[in-house]
Symmetry: C2
Subunit: 593 residues, 2 copies
């Protein structure tokens, strides 16, 4: 089993040829120094770090996992050293503000970093994964006193952070949280309650851990409006330990390298973050950052699964492929540089003319389809990361607003579609191995087990669909989504995907208007069709990304490799769009668009 | 976590109201004694055995698993006792011939038994799962001497059997097998070679194990035609042990209760089964039986996942459902008997009017869609089991031939579609639990891990698709498939599904003829579209099953429960049919049907 190799060339092609990221960032004075040369150099270094240092720890993370003993959690061998090297080299601070100890670089570099880290080692990456959200939350809502003590430690990653939201009876529904915070005379609060599913609630990676905790003041109303946010560290400034205890860690399907903790707060002293009753507002800053981050995990996990399957398909022979010659010479595979066999051919295989797995149509289809998902969802996710910076730093308020709309609409789509694909498409990659995929040997089954959780956390994929349709699209009668599509239509170019994707956009706009009309008279309709609607939007936007990939293919070192993926997108990904529209249309009272 | 409860009422409804199994079997003199009363009694007893004795061992099978020590394999606690009770009660011999120690009952009862066993405990069920195929193989191909020593032991399940096919370089491609068989002067053979992925190659469930082994005679040609089949027992009649060693067992994604063995044959003495060079023919008898069996595993695993998710959705509250009242009283769920909450309501939940998960449209949709798959695939699989008996025992040769056609065409469809759904639909059931689905606590993640292998073994799902389209449908230009659809069309009744399913049948026939024409000119086309074609056939046949369920719904104790599933089938399962046709049509040279 080989460790993940960051596909730096592919990332470069997407960032510089497809998205022309430096041109987009040129309008933002904040990133005047982030030119293409710097970005390329950073991606190279990132590739070396991730492939060389983080990826090799993936398997031990799964097999040994995090271990709980009497309240302490020992991380798998090598995890602490790798994390210490990681933060000391400045990686967590990549996109944090320079005044907080950060490097002030664009969010899109952070996106490439976290996608790659997740591909290399999902479990390890859970630890720094919440840092940026915690940083933003504290920066925007924390008091000056709290910030002076904690902000830089979190920005740099010297200390790690948690989001303590879920309770035994409050999962998707945070309004049910029962943890209490009692105000003290000195302005601090004593917290009491139990939180579950706390990623990295306890570990030995860093010398301190900062918990951000949703809790209820004594006079708070029931429901979400009664929640406030508090900060409780593992260790106080005087070195004493807070009354926060890790009671146990969960046994999980995967992600064994990340301890999922049950945390008990027993009169644990902390400080309020933001105003009383505004805890969810403050927490949503973390959660929105986290949702794009989870989409990137999905892309990374699919990339890892794809890379293993592609390598295996090029080195293993089974059965004569249809149309193959008697003895299949090396290089008989699809016309791309990586198609030569890497492994040894077995004598038996060579003797009867078996073909490499990649030569079998069903397997080529699987690999090209998953690569189409990878390429297109990277384009979409990286553009969203660029829009995050544009929304924050662009001098033109209209452009900032447009960017905010993009992020609001695409974030739930990306979170849901990319995590769904990581699991289901990851399973397709496993299938390439046949029985060898089901055993541990090649490491592919770990990716599938690890990936499953991403469809659940940071808001289940069903909640993303409701967020998209009910809270965002229908809130303005579909105007924002239609405007986004109108605007994106200009990028479709003139390749083979342009016409079908343009037709998808038209149909999606008509469907959106019809839905907005119908939902005004039927309070539950949107909830019945939200999942299909999100998928339809996802496929249409992936089509947009595919059209952009098509237009830029000639600029790639291997144009044919990119064209095979966009062709697969048209053949095997886009057809889902019509199916989703048909499912929605049958629920509409008037003729379907 | 509750153990699986066999849904005996649902099985009864399908067998007696929907399929009218006794009426179909009445034409077969072999089953003159198998009347409805006997079948109902047997299903009741089966339900008690499976739920009471086998299901409770599922978790220990996963957590402790089978253990290898120095060549011996210890099964999880309780497995041997349960197996001994199982065979002594006559269950493995249910459908074996009375002259071999069997009960001579219809195969459809075996189907219900193995579906239920797989639902209850997939790992344990792997052990007896190969018995019937080994019995048929030995009965039809073994010499009288071999049969006198082994047939009854296998028919009754006193000894278990294995299929030793796969080798390190020969998985899907059995023609690459390199194990050698050297003929000896006494008519026996000495086998040398290594077989991998041997389920139950070694264990302590029974006092002997009978291996059926593909190997090559010294003068055999290369490829599949050089393979012969041999029988090598673990212990010979004189009590001495054969030279067959279990070198290790695999670490797997799931199915820990079944040891997947690497078996080394070191001059192991055995006997030939059938003629030299006809090993694959003899083995295919086992494999065809095994493929329907694997489809039933898929149905069982989905049933187990569905049952857990449905129970959870009725006892756990999260968020107010759209349209729900301020405080959701019990009984607010969908109108069916099982909709009342089973668990305790938490104080916090009740206080803010959260709804049961089942009241949320997205979750209702998931559960109804998976139940639609369950109901319809049971109808299809049980009918196939009935056709197996009809093919063997019907007095009219034309009816026998029609039954053979049905089995040949539906078996690969069922194997692929049911195992795909067990994993992907099982994952949808896991989603109902949110974060609680990803941890071990509720046992749902085990079903998803266990289910994954069924998409691979006994011929990967991609191989099933090639078997269907290339070997079966195109072999007669599509005539057999079209005749099957013509015949099935008579069963569609007049419910809501009749018209759309009839339209699917028409389109599928037109598409099949167009494909047969196009494939005559393009040797690889069929391989590119085989997966979509199998899915299209699967959805159309599930539609047929849905129409039959619709027609019989009024005979069920809870008609509304059955109608909810067929409605879900029409809304959320059937739309895939058009998508698959569209994907295939775009590859055809002439206008798509």
């Amino acid at each position: 089993m080989n460790a993940y190799q960051v596909p730096v060339d592919a990332l470069n092609h997407i960032l510089f040829n497809v998205l022309q990221a430096p041109r987009q960032l040129a309008a933002l004075p904040a990133f005047a120094e982030a030119d293409e040369a710097l970005m390329r150099q950073l991606l190279d270094e990132m590739g070396k770090l991730v492939s060389g240092r983080i990826a090799p720890l993936n398997r031990v993370g799964d097999e040994l996992g995090a271990q709980w003993h009497g309240g302490a959690v020992t991380m798998p061998p090598g995890f602490r050293d790798a994390y210490q090297a990681f933060w000391q080299a400045g990686w967590p601070a990549l996109s944090a503000a320079p005044e907080d100890g950060g490097q002030g670089l664009p969010a899109v570099l952070d996106a490439a970093l976290y996608e790659s880290l997740s591909a290399a080692n999902h479990g390890w990456t859970m630890a720094p994964g919440l840092l940026h959200g915690a940083y933003e939350c504290l920066k925007h809502h924390g008091s000056e006193a709290l910030k002076s003590q904690y902000l830089q430690k979190i920005a740099t990653g010297e200390w790690l952070a948690t989001m303590c939201l879920t309770e035994p009876h409050a999962g998707s529904d945070l309004g049910l949280c029962a943890t209490r915070a009692l105000p003290q005379a000195d302005g601090t609060y004593l917290l009491n309650g139990t939180k579950i599913f706390i990623s990295g609630g306890e570990h030995d990676l860093t010398d301190n851990i900062v918990h951000l905790v949703l809790a209820r003041l004594p006079d708070a109303p029931p429901g979400p409006k009664g929640l406030s946010l508090f900060l409780v560290p593992k260790f106080y400034a005087d070195g004493s330990r807070s009354a926060v205890v890790c009671e146990r860690i969960e046994e999980k399907m995967g992600l064994h390298g990340s301890p999922t903790c049950v945390m008990r707060f027993d009169d644990a002293r902390g400080w309020i973050v933001g105003a009383p009753g505004k805890g969810l507002n403050a927490m949503f800053v973390m959660m929105n950052a986290a949702r794009l981050h989870v989409a990137l995990q999905g892309i990374g996990l699919l990339s890892a699964a794809w890379q293993k399957a592609d390598a295996y398909a090029h080195e293993r022979k089974q059965m004569r492929a249809p149309g193959a010659k008697e003895t299949s010479p090396s290089g008989d595979g699809p016309p791309r540089a990586a198609s030569a066999p890497r492994g040894q051919r077995s004598r038996a295989a060579a003797s009867v003319g078996a073909s490499f797995i990649i030569e079998h149509p069903a397997m080529q289809r699987t690999l090209n389809t998953q690569r189409a998902w990878l390429d297109a969802s990277r384009v979409l996710a990286y553009q969203t990361a660029l829009e995050l910076d544009i929304a924050k730093h662009h001098p033109d308020p209209a452009r900032r607003q447009q960017a905010e709309r993009w992020c609001a609409l695409t974030t739930p789509v990306l979170k849901s579609a990319c995590t769904h694909q990581a699991f289901h498409g990851g399973s397709d990659c496993l299938q390439v191995f046949g029985g060898h995929g089901y055993v541990r040997e090649w490491g592919i089954e770990q990716h599938v087990r690890d990936a499953r959780v991403a469809m659940i956390y940071e808001g289940t994929n069903e909640i993303q669909a409701i967020d998209l349709l009910v809270r965002k699209v229908l809130a303005d009668g579909g105007a924002g989504l239609c405007a986004l599509l109108d605007h994106a239509c200009a990028d479709l170019g003139s390749g083979a995907l342009a016409a079908p994707v343009s037709a998808c956009f038209d149909r999606l706009q008509a469907l959106t208007r019809a839905l907005a009309g119908a939902c005004a008279h039927d309070a539950t309709l949107a909830y019945w069709v939200a999942d299909d609607y999100l998928r339809a939007v996802a496929i249409a936007l992936l089509g947009w990304a595919g059209a952009r990939l098509e237009a830029a293919a000639d600029a790639a070192p291997e144009p044919q490799r990119w064209r095979a993926a966009t062709q697969a997108l048209g053949r095997w990904v886009l057809p889902e769009f019509d199916m989703r529209c048909a499912i929605i249309s049958q629920r509409l009272p008037v003729a379907a668009p």
